[in-house]
Point group: C2
Chain length 355, copies 2
């Protein structure tokens, strides 16, 4: 068995792989593959309805907040959010916590005034800025809740007088949230929700209808709300697998239990990073991500040796992002704590050999 | 075994279902699921490269024509094509052959001058207009090569002095084409290419860089050309399965053999529609689609009986689109001729019972 620490696309629950594999040969006992059924069939409409219901249930959404299953990744939401929400003469506020925020800021500038409240760029995005005047006006405050590359995460979201628009691609369903604080949440599926190929968007309807630009039909959130994410053929299989993953989350105690498991895994992982004299963490301690632990070897020359030791123990996906270097242990919902234990053992043995 | 005549998502080769199902449990002997590997991993980069090579090979593309694997369906190409190609002061010509063309026309109007050369709307889109003055100027001529709803298809594409932009969602890889005639080809995967969730775009680079509007990064074809369809996380699994389907096409003689098989199936199907006194075809004979045969019962009261007879013989997906009624037998590349034989037998037995 491999221990998959990949940053995304990433590990999903083992039982989901089995269900998905079975569904490709015979879905719902139809003697048809889930890949060959119509998106208008009763069986797929049920998948879509159930997926929407699961999002609402897991995140405790009020009726104003509509879950949509779109495509194009979070990268498409970087422009779709301001295109749908931000009038040309209005201002949106952004906090720049890394590569994804930076891209979101770039796209938003095509649509309205963009005010960058704070950035940790000068410190290689190793912390989450908190010391800035909170906006009292403007259309929304944009945040990236978890930064996969740098291993930082908002432990708490800031209080905000205006709706928060949040990229939760890499930590959705990893903990409870207060949905009322959010005007829009978006997340590429391929970390905690499912395989690559669908993007969850949760939009508070009250945010919509306030811009007067022409929006192509497929880019208008209202199209997809009205048609329950089936205006055109949705990505059937990625949505199906996302449903299976959300069912697994629900069966395993919901986002509250996910949070507890994720904290246990993070404690174990960061505990070893802090204890082991060969390693050190990259991100500011109070902003450490529970999803992606970034760390380096004090002696960079040992990097290749360590990756080899990981590989020997079946731990894969640990190479850090090229812009940060070192290592990254991604510990999404589906990663069992046993995998973290194995990695910690590898680090301890490595200390024995190279310490 | 079911005979799947669904209009899309639709039947794919049986061996592809098996390969896809296996890949979800253990991809390339990595002991990892294809759903959990990084899109930057060597194994997936190979899938992407191979998919691009297969498109080039199957359609005999010149180097100017770049295959891209995007998302958002053909519905997103309705606006992306004019957004990328059509300057505000220039004209694009459209032929309106049904619901999809109509939607493409609507979106194009957001970007430049749109001239509708011809339409068969007044005759319920039952034929392909051919009697119109071919444009001698303008940016492109937009065509929908096959119309799933009405069961019409261009038997031959018109000679055009300007590049053709073509929606080939429902007949790509069903026959050889002359790529030089096309400035842009797009196709949602979920008929002849793969499962829902990716969209093939083939763009002649010479068409690009001629508009001066701001284009969001994700909507700019140049972004995806430059990054080989991996600017952001692409839809890994839909692309993987598309690759498997294209390999199957190649192994089975390429698009030339597909054409021959499709003609055999269509001959059998339309032969029975024309012979059987209970049924009649919907589309003009010379424009009949080899992908989707639309037909009705002369006595509409027997419709439910016929669908029941089909079901009993394991023939599914035959109900016609609500806007046309009657029946639709979709016969994409992967549908075996045996399935058409079974359906023809059902029609013959139905004649015996109700004739």
């Amino acid at each position: 068995m491999k221990h998959n620490f990949s940053a995304g696309p990433s590990i999903l629950p083992k039982e989901v792989f089995q269900q998905a594999s079975d569904g490709i040969l015979n879905f719902n006992d139809l003697e048809l593959s889930v890949l060959e059924i119509s998106h208008r069939s009763k069986d797929f409409v049920e998948v879509l309805d159930r997926s929407v219901a699961l999002v609402k249930d897991l995140l405790n959404l009020p009726d104003t907040h509509k879950p949509l299953f779109l495509t194009g990744g979070a990268s498409s939401q970087f422009f779709m959010a301001p295109m749908n929400l931000l009038a040309a003469s209005d201002t949106a506020h952004y906090v720049d916590t890394g590569s994804w925020s930076t891209k979101a800021i770039k796209e938003a500038k095509l649509y309205g005034e963009v005010n960058v409240l704070a950035s940790s760029k000068e410190d290689k995005f190793s912390y989450i800025p908190k010391d800035y005047a909170k906006p009292t006006s403007g259309t929304y405050l944009h945040l990236t809740s978890n930064n996969t590359i740098y291993g930082t995460q908002y432990a708490e979201f800031p209080e905000s007088a205006i709706p928060i628009v949040c990229d939760m691609s890499s930590d959705i369903f990893s903990r409870p949230i207060d949905p009322d604080a959010f005007g829009l949440i978006y997340a590429g599926a391929q970390k905690n929700m499912g395989p690559a190929g669908t993007t969850l968007v949760i939009v508070n309807e009250e945010m919509l209808g306030k811009v007067d630009r022409d929006i192509p039909t497929m880019l208008d959130y209202r199209t997809h709300i009205k048609k329950n994410s089936a205006f055109n053929t949705p990505p059937v299989f990625p949505i199906y697998v996302s449903m299976l993953v959300m069912e697994w989350v629900q069966k395993n105690g919901g986002v509250k239990m996910m949070q507890q498991r994720n904290e246990e895994k993070a404690d174990l992982m960061y505990g070893e990073i802090d204890r082991n004299p060969l390693f050190r963490g990259v991100a500011a301690k109070e902003d450490r991500s529970k999803m992606n632990a970034t760390f380096i070897l004090n002696n960079a020359e040992l990097e290749e040796h360590f990756l080899q030791a990981c590989k020997k123990a079946n731990c894969v996906g640990l190479k850090g992002h090229r812009s940060v270097g070192g290592f990254r242990a991604s510990m999404y919902n589906a990663l069992p704590i046993e995998s973290v234990r194995v990695l910690v053992e590898v680090m301890q043995e490595f200390e024995g050999t190279h310490g």
